[in-house]
Symmetry: C2
Subunit: 221 residues, 2 copies
């Protein structure tokens, strides 16, 4: 099998298999052999891509997370107004709820993720948070965010709110979190013009963030 193209393709197939099984049986009960069989390859081949079981499943989660961000970026590209914090929140909230694995990550669903959960944040957070704060500062500079507190503090509050909504059962309507975020973090008026001005840079920020994670994914391939 020639390297290059096909290699990445096979990696994706393995991740597909792992994701499927992870969701159906949970981390604890999914073996590497199950994954290999479902991917139609030998067990040893899996280790040509990832150095151990944990890394493989973390890659599954990372890919899922990257896909969610890429969806978000697409939405922002299609409509610059999505750059607005409240709108972006609604879309990302919906995205996460629609992806069972991400939802499990937020809801501390130990049943499916098991011992992966603790490792998740260590693996996923490096400069992700920084990028988000930058995005908030960008909004603030354009009167699209409250400025009576530093963006870094608002980020803390924002994450608390998002987390609170995500763990609710059943999760509240997307419109409700959008509304809450709008009131809690946005100024009274949000200028459409400013949003359009901000969009390119915001899109770039998230694109870059997603690209970094993609890189890390492919490095493992």
């Amino acid at each position: 099998m020639p390297p290059a193209e096909d290699r990445a393709e096979r990696a994706e197939r393995i991740l597909d298999a792992a994701a499927e099984l992870l969701l159906r049986a949970g981390y604890r009960r999914t073996t590497i052999e199950d994954v290999a069989e479902r991917a139609g390859i030998g067990k040893g081949t899996v280790y040509l891509h990832w150095k151990n079981r944990e890394d493989l499943f973390l890659a599954v989660l990372l890919r899922e997370s990257v896909r969610a961000i890429e969806d978000l970026v697409r939405a922002m590209e299609a409509d610059p107004l999505v750059t607005r914090l409240a709108t972006l929140t609604r879309i990302q909230y919906t995205n996460v709820l629609a992806r069972p694995l991400l939802r499990a990550g937020h809801a501390d669903d130990a049943g499916t993720l098991g011992k992966l959960l603790p490792k998740l944040h260590d693996q996923l957070d490096p400069r992700h948070d920084e990028a988000f704060v930058e995005y908030l500062e960008l909004l603030a500079a354009h009167d699209l965010l409250r400025t009576d507190r530093p963006a870094r503090e608002l980020a803390v509050a924002y994450r608390a709110v998002l987390h609170g909504f995500l763990v609710g059962s059943p999760p509240p309507e997307p419109a409700l979190i959008a509304d809450t975020v709008a009131h809690a973090f946005e100024p009274l008026a949000v200028s459409t013009t400013q949003l359009r001005a901000v969009a390119p840079r915001a899109i770039a920020l998230f694109t870059e963030s997603a690209a970094l994670d993609r890189k890390r994914l492919e490095r493992a391939y």
Copy 2:
């Protein structure tokens, strides 16, 4: 031992002992005999007060929760402005953080509460939520709360926010949640006069709520 006064006193001693051990060793590792010994009574005596182990520890939690509400009521009586949603939130947030057992309840600290956690909400929620919604409706009627959404929906969002802040580690500053709640759920201006007008009824609501729980506690005594 004559009934009446002394009986309640003994119940409190048992709860003290149970609370102490619960905090130090966790639910799973705290036995009824431990509790009895620490309370200076025989094991059988515990069952004169509660019909089983689970009920005893749920009572510990219920008492803790009642105490927090009573603290809150005292704060409202001392200063009617505490009736304001943002202020009340700050105080209650601080109260909960200061009470490790309540904090464990919100943070899903399975290590100390173990199998009690699932039962907690079933036990604690009956008309508690209703009272809170009533309080919100009271605020709304006096222009102390957003009115563009029904109080019941705001209550859902509010609980998500509160929960999100409580599970944070480390928990954000009390000022931050107060600020967030103020923006998210209060109208632009909050009238001091209206607050004073609302205070007696609000205090009554919470007092009643606490009294109901106290009753249930004492019924078990």
